[in-house]
Subunit: 200 residues, 2 copies
């Protein structure tokens, strides 16, 4: 095999392995409540949010391509590590370790230069280490809140989540976008008013 085709073979192995993300289901339901959402479609919806909403980021000079790269890659590790529900404190304890191991294996399928590039985008996202990462994390938090609001609070009620928890977890949306955090607070108020989120 030539080095050209061996490079392509490594890239295709990564792309093929990534198909498994379509079988990693999240706690969130899609808005019509018919079923839970998987990580692949969640990642697409985030990328749509990013291209539509990045003008609302706190930092007006964001690199949209950098945001998209993070958003496209951000959940890949869950192929090995599984989805961790954001309100599940026990399961969150070893989450970082499980995800680091997954990142080693999955990005390791790629040619070395791309493995480094994709891993560093993922590390930057995880650490919230740039305005782009903070904006990507903001839409990653807003998205399940929005779906859950549209689905009548189905995940909140299933897990007994109350408004103060939603605020404590999601106020970090403001690190990426004050405007989106203001919007999210409006959703919380409407969910309380309609009785789908306990005001506790």
């Amino acid at each position: 095999m030539s080095s050209h085709s061996s490079r392509l073979a490594q890239q295709m192995a990564f792309i093929i392995e990534a198909d498994k993300l379509k079988n990693i289901f999240r706690q969130s339901y899609i808005s019509d409540r018919s079923r839970r959402e998987n990580d692949a479609e969640h990642s697409w919806h985030l990328s749509l949010m990013a291209i539509t909403l990045y003008e609302h980021a706190n930092d007006p000079n964001l690199d949209l391509l950098k945001i998209l790269r993070m958003v496209i890659l951000h959940d890949i590790v869950e192929i090995d590590a599984g989805d961790t529900y954001i309100y599940d404190e026990a399961h969150k304890q070893d989450q970082a370790e499980r995800e680091q191991k997954a990142a080693d294996r999955l990005f390791g399928l790629l040619p070395p230069d791309q493995a480094t590039e994709f891993r560093s985008a993922w590390d930057e996202f995880e650490a919230g280490a740039s305005p782009e990462a903070r904006f990507a994390k903001a839409v990653d938090r807003l998205h399940p809140m929005l779906l859950n609001y549209l689905a009548g609070g189905i995940t909140w009620s299933k897990h007994g989540v109350v408004a103060s928890q939603v605020r404590a977890i999601n106020h970090k949306i403001g690190d990426g976008s004050d405007t989106l955090w203001e919007y999210a607070q409006g959703l919380i108020e409407k969910a309380i008013a309609s009785g789908t989120l306990p005001d506790a």
Copy 2:
């Protein structure tokens, strides 16, 4: 409502409507053959292919952000127009008209400047009117072929598709990337050799 919040409300209306793309199912199965793939997860997988493979485009000076915008938006119209199987000649006849109407409605949910911007990205993709559009279309063709190959040719056999049809439809991959068309031809040869695609 201030003009700021009314702009955001229009953007969110578009994002919320787009959730329906998760219920538009394609002919392709995911690679483990457990179920058909939906348009949202397909669009994510294409964006992953784009960031991984764009170095193989015929034109070495592509704008990756432009490709990603097209790939993220390319199937949105199917919320109204439905998925049209690429080998279904009868259904393809009124496809363009159905999709134009859908584009009017769906992109029309956005603030006017974004409606124009997103619509023009979609038009450019549809027309294959730039190197970026031709590369995006190349991965959009390669992706179902790859899944189908991995799934043992399940969609080909269900619809009685033979190798000459696969070649006739997919040779356009070469308009965006000769390297990916070469790879795709390798898949066709392997599918024929393993008996999953009739050599006719």
